[in-house]
Symmetry: C2
């Protein structure tokens, strides 16, 4: 293993049904995610650092240190947070044993950040300087507490991967957190941040430092929200979840990133303070959100105007917003609920979101990103400028950077810390949640030292072999997750016995010997997926999935370059694999003359122009890597 | 008749296939639109004047006259235009013989406006004053030329309804127009306005004044657009149609009001300058827009974020934007094309848009308005504040006023001038396009003096009786329009002969005697309407229409107060009329437990909770007049 602490993980609750297994104990050795981690380290992190310098967002700290901010500072009000998220990503990357040169780059940026901190701990390049608006003067939009939150998360990553390192980041974070507690504590300003994030960060910082003052402050922020303490804004207070207390809400709503970050923080607070009612409130919100407000990709947020959840069942495929950061927020929330409750449906959503939102955001070269992840692109858009930040909602091709560039750094920190989301432990043994080639170790308290190797080509193939590498005379439990999508055909083999299994947790408890194996076989035949009839936007359509991967029809795969909107899928023939690619049988309809599109009779069967036979699909996460194209995930059927 | 000039009409082209018949020659004497004109005069105009005063938008002119604007001016950058649109509405209302008290109110506001005009003709309360941004310093968002455009249109209305009146409005407009020509003429600033409107206004002002300089300036503005002369904005230059020249565009795109106003101005220029290529470009854009980007209501614009057209076929019912002003812009454009081409499909769209967008905007009492006209409301929203301007996109109940309050004044001027859109003439005779009880007169050049009375209960019933009131020995043609929706069952009766007729124009040419009649009988049986299968958002749904009126299912009509989203229409039974209301046969589906909403098998037929038998529908234009409710126009079927 890497030699770092087993507790090297972003989330380390004091209690819960399951315990996380950290980066020190999980090593990803190959496959889908190792490849992405490698691209993240080799390409994305330098790319991000380049743009942070180029846009002047790191230099803002230099200016602040010199007192030169007025008129000189660049970037939006939350630009500091991108520097912190970069630091967090680098801290995790160092933790997992990345490029040795990273350590000096990390320290260099930390020094520049630290130099900008005010004597009382306040740290923000947008407010409070000479010629700037006063500190905390715009809680609705200013993002000051949000920025501190990301500073704390960077410090958490550092403290858990290099405990006792002398770079000073943890001390900077502690002074900033103290300043927050002094300013917004019980005797301070009765305020909160327009963008939740400080809540979850303060709880984790309390876990790292052992200082419960930060936890109390987080609880205060959670409880303050929903009472209209923030000013009203164009999008209404629902936008930042201030229209209703967390405990009273029944579903996630408003800005989808804000909503998930807040819910994650509420779970953290609830777990630490044994607040069962608060936990149950978030659990209820999660269930409703997943059932009625989540795309098949796991994406969340359907509205461009306010980057927000729509009403129940409003899940348009075209112009789906599905912000990358909302997907990451959803993973953060689901992971916390998984640790609290142990229900693998949370891990199901994490898997779906990782493969279909997080993996979709980055280009294969790791130097361009989707901010939004639409499920249907009707027109070939303009190619993003390689040399200029794009507007945040650019959804044509991936862009190198954004004016609001939250997603690239968020993807980077998530990929660098991905090992932390693979497995958990409890007093009985080990649970493997995400399937990738690697090793997992865990020492049970007063129990055996558990070690397993996972051998798999997942998600390319469905065989997941969990091999025991340790010997102990005491029994322990080894659990694997049968994903929710594997409703039929999954089996588990232990020793010579194979049995069918359905979605949920499969646990084997026994004395394990080195070389023993649990083999999970998942049905990887591509399949049609049908939407709930309440989702108006995709009625009469099917999606195609293979394992946890959502597929898409991309115009570059359509013979003759036709529109993806002119194809109709014949569902009588299931999707199949031809030459390694999933194909569906399609017919093409002929474009009509322009006329009034509403008629007194049902549209006659569209005239068939050609039998295209088989059209190859592409993994949704891989689309838009072959030049400008159109695309759809939900395919109208010939029915 | 009212004694005002037959040319009292907003649009008076120099040539074209058809000539408008103005307010002086058309009198609306009863029925659906007379009722709305009456409410407009009695309730809406005083309501609007009250809010214009209350919000300080008229007072801005007083402040400007005193040089006190800095820091004192209220309202958005286009607030002046609301005052001008109010003046235009009042001018038409005076023209159609409204309340005698209106004249002094009109003159009073004109005096206050006139007092604010600068010596060189510049007139705007937002720019150029002491402490304000300089004139023309923000062409993208400043709306200065837009405001002048509405000033000109008010002056046009005045000049045509009270020629030679000594209130001075026409002179104020002339000085403002001269200032525009001097500033932006061939030797001036190569600029244009972010919001088209000045183009169509300048052409009409040229028609009123006979001064072709205004026409030339309008042509210049039309040709300047599409070359990136405006700065880039968050929504892209397409937002204000500056990404592509008018002549090169193939469809309306970007902000839906801007797009229609620009196209209307382009038709005006094309007609005056005999620019066949320009006219054909707009004609092509109109056809594509109506075929692929228009709601069944005639509404246009599907995106909240930028109030814009979506891509082809993106017509979501929920969160449909369908701004009232875009509907009015569409009527403006279609009317100009009808005059140019004579194709009654333009009149079809006008009818549809009047009944289902313009009539929908106002509450029955005329004191509240929809800014957007969604086709599906899933959740009961908050009730707009009766005492405060609402946000522009408030779509819950109609609101008394908006921070961006373009729609109420636009509806007011449209209703007050509605008689101008009823009929046209050519050298052969008279064409009746819109059906309402009233009288139409027209003197053909060197020909007979034509007079007809229209007797009808339309759209409540489908019998339209056009009775000739004049005698002349020379033959002339009387044409009626068979609407596009009347694909079957329409008949025309002349003398004793009745014959079936299909959509289009039906013309009878003969010598007409007083008392002769053409009776058009339109099929008013309610009917299901099916969407083009390319419109993903409403696949598997039907709408219900009766005549030109789109119907809706509103929750207040659902027994037991169930959700409109839980009903499925059985299309095997056509809609029918029960006790004067249109009903459909529905079944209610049972809500499901919260679970992952995407499955490996087609959803089983939804469990039926109850046979509701007949559910009554409401005219879409009448919904949301009975308290908060949910609503849908497109109804999923049981198929």
């Amino acid at each position: 293993m890497s030699g770092i602490a087993p507790t090297a993980t972003p989330v380390l609750p004091i209690r819960g049904r399951l315990r996380p297994v950290g980066l020190g104990d999980v090593r990803i050795t190959g496959g889908f995610w190792a490849e992405r981690q490698s691209v993240n380290a080799v390409a994305s992190l330098p790319h991000i650092e380049h743009w942070l310098e180029r846009e002047g967002w790191i230099r803002n700290f230099d200016l602040a240190a010199r007192g030169d901010l007025a008129g000189e500072r660049r970037g939006r009000e939350f630009a500091d947070s991108e520097v912190y998220k970069f630091l967090e990503a680098v801290a995790w990357e160092i933790g997992r044993g990345g490029d040795p040169g990273l350590e000096s780059r990390f320290r260099s940026v930390v020094r520049r950040v630290a130099a900008a901190q005010e004597p009382d701990g306040y740290l923000n390049t947008r407010f409070g300087g000479r010629g700037q608006a006063p500190r905390w003067s715009d809680l609705e939009w200013g993002h000051e507490l949000y920025c501190v939150g990301h500073l704390l998360q960077a410090a958490v990553a550092r403290a858990r991967t290099r405990p006792g390192a002398d770079d000073g980041l943890v001390e900077v974070a502690r002074r900033a957190a103290d300043n927050v507690c002094e300013t917004f504590g019980p005797d301070g300003v009765t305020g909160l941040c327009g963008h939740p994030e400080i809540e979850t960060a303060l709880v984790e910082f309390a876990r790292v430092t052992g200082d419960d003052r930060y936890l109390a402050q987080a609880a205060l922020f959670v409880d303050r929200r929903g009472h209209g303490l923030l000013g009203d804004v164009e999008f209404g207070r629902q936008y930042f979840q201030d229209e209703r207390p967390v405990r009273a809400a029944t579903v996630l709503r408003g800005h989808a990133v804000r909503a998930n970050y807040l819910a994650a923080g509420a779970v953290d607070v609830a777990v630490e303070l044994k607040d069962a009612a608060l936990l149950e409130a978030v659990r209820t919100q999660w269930r409703a959100t997943v059932a009625r407000r989540t795309y098949v990709t796991g994406g969340q947020g359907s509205r461009h105007q306010d980057e927000a959840f729509g009403d129940d069942w409003v899940l348009p495929a075209d112009r789906a917003y599905s912000e990358t950061c909302a997907g990451i927020g959803s993973v953060m929330l689901a992971w916390r609920l998984l640790l609290a409750d142990g229900d693998v449906r949370y891990a199901d959503l994490i898997e779906r979101t990782l493969f279909n939102v997080v993996a979709t955001s980055s280009s294969t070269d790791g130097r361009a990103f989707f901010y939004t992840n639409t499920l249907h692109r009707r027109e070939i858009g303009s190619v993003p400028d390689a040399d200029r930040p794009s507007l945040r909602a650019a959804a044509s091709l991936r862009a190198p950077w954004f004016e609001v560039s939250c997603c690239p750094t968020n993807v980077a920190r998530t990929l660098a810390s991905l090992a932390a989301y693979v497995a958990t432990a409890d007093d009985e043994g080990l649970q493997v949640h995400q399937y990738l080639p690697g090793t997992i170790a865990h020492r049970l308290a007063d129990g055996p030292d558990l070690r397993v190797t996972v051998l798999t080509g997942y998600p390319h193939d469905g065989v997941v072999r969990v091999r025991v590498d340790s010997d102990d005379d005491r029994p322990w439990s080894l659990s694997v997750r049968v994903p929710g999508w594997a409703t039929r055909g999954a089996t588990v083999t232990v020793d010579a016995g194979t049995r069918p299994v359905g979605p949920g947790t499969v646990t084997e408890r026994r004395v394990w010997r080195r070389g023993d194996e649990v083999v999970l076989r998942l049905p990887m035949t591509p399949r049609f997926t049908y939407p709930d009839p309440r989702i108006d936007a995709v009625r009469g359509c099917v999606a195609v999935e293979r394992g946890p991967v959502v597929l898409a029809l991309e115009s570059v795969d359509v013979a003759g370059g036709g529109s993806v909107d002119d194809l109709r899928v014949d569902t009588r023939q299931p999707p199949r694999v031809v030459d390694g690619r999933v194909t569906v049988r399609c017919r093409r309809i002929r474009p009509r003359e322009d006329e009034w599109p509403y008629r007194g009779t049902p549209a006659p069967p569209d005239p068939v122009d050609a039998d295209l036979d088989e059209v190859a699909l592409v993994a949704y996460h891989a689309w838009a890597n072959r030049g400008p194209s159109t695309m759809r995930v939900w395919l109208p059927t010939t029915d």
